[in-house]
Amino acid sequence: MATTTTQPVAVPAVVVAEKPPKPGFNFGRALAWFFMILVILASIFPFYWMLRTALSSNNALYAGSDSLLPVDASWGGFERVFGLQTGQEAIDAGGAGQPINFWHYLANSVIVSTLVTAGQVFFSAMAAYAFARLQWRHREKVFAFFLAGLMIPAIFTLLPNFVLIKQLGLIDTLLGISLPTMLMTPFAVFFLRQFFLGISREVEEAALVEGASKVRVFFQLIMPMSAAPLATLGILTYITSWNDYFWPLMVSYTDRSRVLTVALGVFKSQTPQTGPDWSGLMAATLVAALPMLVLFLFFAKRIVNSIGFSGIK
């Protein structure tokens, strides 16, 4: 009975009317569309250029620098990035010839982002539930304390956190990179608490009356009902973690814990004598960017609609 009264709850998203106001043709509108097309081109072209260069062979780039299609198309850039060329082959093709294997960095990035996302979303959800639904003393004070954390720019805690991770002996490990954001962020707690507050109490109380414990209510009722915001938060956290550069740059020294963003910086700095290996570098860049672009392809609507003021206070 109680379940029929609950509406499926969604992230407070932007309500978008599909029909724009529709006056006839006028000069202003044409100009506006022209501007929009420029914006679209500026957003997309750099990605095309990355792809075009990655598929060119590096030595041909000098002659064909303004060809819109790949010059002397080859997989050479990707072969160097994944360590499939021998040192001499790579040097002949315009690469640095140092062994490099992006599969390894790709795996590291996947591990770090997965650890951070799974941990952060789960533990933040637990805390958010305690703040939204459980009755305990000083709840509001502790929550205000958490919120104050939003004021501290992440960058300020990096140096002392590095010192801490070093003392814990976790330098150059994937756990060391993940740990600081694996347990919570004030934003995640705040975002989920807002959502939990909006869930109707009736369902929850019906379950409690029937004798379910609050732990069960959380796992079997609240979590499934919140699948949508949990997924949104998870995707955003994954992207943020994947794209992070400064913190992993501090913590990882060797291949063992190197993630893609840091590996890209290293690849760039290994410029060969003859000039940069642009096709290799763009291939590497593409490898680093592609997983997030694919993720975006699948979840575009969710990601686009999650951007608004629902989460930002």
Binding site: D66, L134, Q135, P153, L159, V189, F218, Y245, T285
Partner: protein, 293 residues
């Protein structure tokens, strides 16, 4: 029912909150306090920190490179924020007035999905002096090639615009979300009165959007001050010190010269700058809101 509501859940709540609280205390609160403490010490990471009072701050005030870094950072923030906000506002309004379809918002947001490092490298290539397509186009229209990231006068505007490319879509979507809160009836009324799009933008959109714009500015300005990735990947602070932004100088001091105490003092300075800016902008937001209420 009442009995359930009143029940005290303290023990359960502690259990639920424990992991997040531990994370919060260990990786946010403690480092914040420690960062402030370290700024009063001499610390090279190998031997324990030695308290040295205000030495780091005295040094900072007298350090021309620090002041230059602060100047460069502010220069970067101004270009970055002005260009980004104007463009984002334009894009948001166009999306609102032309088409509100998701695919368009998706395309505009795409650059935000890649890391700063990826964005920096793509533009390093596009703007390359010898082979970059950007310089080829400049040459084709009859101008001289520009060493965008190697010329002291160009480097900060270039870095600022690279980051505009990555963030403008996100900012536009934030503003777009704000635009949805303005009732359509206002525009209908405006149109009935024969107001042009431009008049409606000035008289309806801008005033009603102002509190949201202020909020967007707080978020983007605070983010902009923390610029690091793009500089670290493309120029490493060069040529000379012309792109040595504050965060890069701090990093270099800590990891290049192992002067963690001094680096911490500069971090505190940056923190203070950010708090002051946030506070000022927050005051402005509040003022605007009360005006409109």
């Amino acid at each position: 029912m009442e009995a359930i509501k009143r029940k005290d859940d303290t023990r359960l709540a502690l259990m639920f909150i424990a992991p997040a609280l531990v994370g919060f205390l260990i990786f946010m609160v403690w480092p914040t306090l420690r960062g402030i403490y370290l700024s009063f010490t001499k610390f090279n990471l190998l031997t324990p920190p030695e308290f040295n009072g205000l030495d780091n701050y005295v040094r900072m005030v007298q350090d021309p490179v620090f002041w230059n870094a602060l100047k460069v950072t502010i220069y970067y923030v101004v270009i970055n924020i002005v260009v980004q906000t104007v463009l984002a506002l334009g894009i948001a309004v166009m999306m609102q007035r032309l088409t509100r379809r998701t695919w368009l918002r998706g395309i505009v947001l795409t650059p935000y999905l890649v890391s700063n490092v990826v964005a920096a490298l793509i533009f390093l290539w596009i703007l390359d002096y010898q082979l970059g397509i950007g310089n080829r186009v400049i040459e084709l229209i009859g101008l001289d090639r520009v060493a965008f990231l190697a010329d002291g006068a160009w480097v900060i505007p270039t870095v600022a615009l690279i980051n505009v490319w990555r963030h403008v879509g996100y900012t536009a979507l934030l503003i777009f979300a704000g635009l949805q809160t303005i009732p359509e009836t206002l525009y209908e009324a405006g149109r009935t009165d024969g107001a042009s799009e431009l008049t409606m933008f000035r008289r309806i959109t801008l005033p009603l959007l102002r509190p949201i714009l202020a909020l967007v500015l707080i978020i983007t300005v605070v983010g902009s001050f923390q610029v690091f990735d793009t500089v670290a990947v493309t120029t490493r602070g060069g040529p000379v010190d012309s792109s040595r932004v504050l965060q890069y100088y701090i990093y270099d001091m800590a990891f290049g010269r192992f002067q963690f105490g001094y680096a911490s003092a500069m971090s505190v300075a940056l923190l203070v700058v950010l708090i002051v800016i946030t506070f000022l902008q927050y005051r402005l937001t509040r003022a605007e809101q009360s005006d409109l209420a």
